[in-house]
Amino acid sequence: MKKFYFVMALLIVASMILTACGTPAATEAPAATDAPAVTEAPAATEAPAATEAPAEVTQEDCVTEEVFCVGVVTDVGKVNDKSFNQSAWEGALKSQEDGVADLVQFIETADAKDYAKNIGTFGDAGFDVIVTVGFALGEATVAAAATYPDISFIGVDQFQAWEFDEDAANDVANVTGLGFPEDQAGFLVGALAAAMSESHKIGAVCGTDVVPPVWRFGEGYKAGAAYADGLNGTTTEVFVVYHSDVGFDKTFTDPEWGAQTATSMMDQGADAIFGCGGLTGNGAITAAAQAGKYAIGVDADQYLTLPEAAPRMLSSAMKLITPGVADLVAAAKDGSIKPGNFTGLAGYAPYHDLESEVPAEVNAMMEELNAALLDGSVTTNVPPVKP
């Protein structure tokens, strides 16, 4: 038994270390780490959310009318993937903070075959809104919508092929797809990078181009750089590299590859790097920032989520999933949600620390472009899917 006790003792010691470290951290750490996040980014989550809820709300209460419950089913991946799963979950959390939802919960999908089961788990428990994340869940979502007609479904990155009209037979009245014009965000930062580059060489390190949002970011980036060249009379060389040389499971999770690729581009003269593609892109952004070049983030304002790259973060191509989800949840609660497709916001993030380095005329160009893209007077000419 001696060894057994030894193992136990080890575990207990380990637990004490973990909890000992944990307790003070909960109170002290946010000041050190979250400060910017809390003040500037509504996306950042705050711990006390659960405790602020009026009474102990449990899953059993979801069947009742008055308790508003939101369930998030992730794609194969984790809610802490620092990517779309996490953003969607944070959107749900935001709706709880805003007092819209009484209870938010997630289920992480381990394998594609569990999509229906996982959605059904929330459905059977009487949740009011179910957010499913990722295109792959599209069919399972539509199928579940028929089974649970009283529940609102929000499908992140799920383009709904049907147009909502009151009498079409294939309407699914309780599904809303949430999509984003990633090409516009890419276009904006592409133009910015081209305008700011001194070597007239810029790079983008992306996840796999078979994922349409990633491809749209990358192609938008190219188009934006070309557009800026046209305005400024420059010729900018754009390196865009997609991490398509590995299996699908690695393309977004290979920061080391991202860093090496960015370094290689910088060795060849690039002085602005756009990292688009989850953690792979983050690796590139960090490497660019470390090397003192311009770093451009993706999805959220990564000035806030990548502190180690913040000082050199020029901007980010934003695709605001978190507020998009929160808005749709709120709309579902007050009944204003519309089935069909909902286009979320895309744009570029503020320059933050580099504000002073961006010349006024570049800033003016960016503001103009942003407005032009919104009103449609400038188009990116990027098709929605890789041809």
């Binding site: 899953q59 194969v76 381990a110 594609a112 295109f135 078979v210």
Partner: protein
């Protein structure tokens, strides 16, 4: 074997419960206890978590059906690894063989009617879809077997490399020629396979399908093959003592290739049945590591087909029950991976378990692999 006087009735009973099942059982028990402690440490409620696991996996007909669905590929893949173990080979590449099997089953499933221009009867189409997937999985592993037999290239590294090659190649195919061309599809997946290539469900309203029954049948078949046939005798002889096998006139090289081929066919079958019985298409996803789970299952089941069926159920129940567990506790599903790792650790290092529970060793060590020398 000298007989030692048992010191008490209890230990006598413990001894009489076959050692084969005692150690795995205690390994699971220890892992569950340790897992509970870990849940407690991270601030969860272990009892609620385990309640969720049990409810979610066994609590209803639907839960049982879903557990059986998870168990089906596990049984095939576990048998694949176990068969290789019996032949003295370590097939760490069930993952890749599974993917290859799935891709080819899907190709036959959707592509053959398209190519022929007319629909096939199910009686031809379904067996063909499963058979081709199985065969391609077999060939995928057979390549490694051939490399081992003729060049001595170690199967552990080679199956891992073949995994990467399989996953890269399936990505390539599913993003390219095999991509579902339906409008608005943006992800890497094949079109749906024809009705005629689908396995029908066992019961109305539940997803569990005849593939599960097939898995049980194949488990029995493998047991029969290993223990009752000359081929099984050859595989086991090569596995236990390749020198004696050569001396006995067994064609060792051929047996190695056949063993890998069969092992790969089983893994390929796991993929085929997932496509034809459940998903009706193959879709690229983040791997949950069937290959590694299969190794754990084979070890836990002591490479015995019955043991593999049982341990597949255990793993399936854990994976399936994880949803309910997470729903109740919001604990991460990674916990399941950790529990499985602990079980595997205690099964592999049974000396630890023996030490904790004071169980005497039978003294015979089963050689599973033989370093690099092979």
């Amino acid at each position: 074997m000298q007989t030692e006087k048992p010191n008490s009735l209890t230990s006598q009973i413990l001894q009489s419960i076959s050692n084969a099942s005692l150690i795995p059982f205690l390994a699971i028990l220890t892992a569950v206890i340790l897992g509970g402690i870990i849940i407690k440490i991270v601030g969860g409620d272990p009892f609620l978590a385990y309640k969720g696991l049990i409810q979610g996996s066994l609590g209803s007909a639907k839960a049982l059906s879903e557990t059986a669905i998870w168990a089906t590929p596990y049984i095939f893949a576990g048998l694949a690894v176990a068969l290789a173990f019996k032949g003295g080979l370590f097939n760490i590449g069930a993952e890749g063989q599974l993917a290859v099997g799935a891709v080819f089953s899907a190709l036959i499933g959707y592509g053959l009617p398209e190519w022929l221009g007319y629909d096939l009867p199910a009686i031809i189409h379904l067996p063909l879809a499963i058979g081709v997937g199985m065969l391609m999985g077999g060939i995928w592993a057979g390549i490694v077997g051939a490399l081992k037999a003729y060049t001595g290239g170690h199967e552990v590294i080679n199956t891992i490399m073949m995994n990467y090659i399989a996953l890269n190649t399936t990505s390539f195919l599913l993003n390219g020629v095999m991509k579902d061309p339906s409008p608005n599809n943006v992800i890497a997946r094949t079109p749906l396979i024809a009705e005629s290539a689908r396995i029908s469900p066992l019961f109305e309203g539940l997803r569990v399908h005849w593939g599960f029954v097939l898995a049980l049948l194949v488990a029995f078949l493998i047991w029969w093959l290993l223990n009752k046939t000359t081929l099984g005798f050859e595989i086991r002889t090569v596995g236990l003592n390749p020198d004696a096998a050569q001396y006995a006139g067994i064609n060792v090289k051929r047996t190695i290739i056949v063993t890998m081929l069969l092992s790969g066919m089983l893994a390929g079958l796991a993929g085929s049945i997932e496509v034809t019985g459940l998903n009706y298409r193959h879709e690229l996803g983040f791997s949950i590591g069937y290959g590694y789970d299969a190794i754990a299952i084979a070890l836990l089941g002591k490479s015995h087909p019955l043991g593999i069926v049982l341990s597949s159920f255990l793993f399936a129940a854990m994976r399936n029950g994880a949803t309910r567990m997470q729903f109740l506790t919001q604990l991460p599903v990674d916990l399941i991976s950790m529990l499985q790792a602990l079980i595997l650790l205690f099964v592999a290092a049974d000396a630890i378990v023996r030490y904790i529970y004071r169980i005497k060793s039978k003294g015979e060590r089963v050689v599973l692999t033989r370093g690099w020398g092979g």
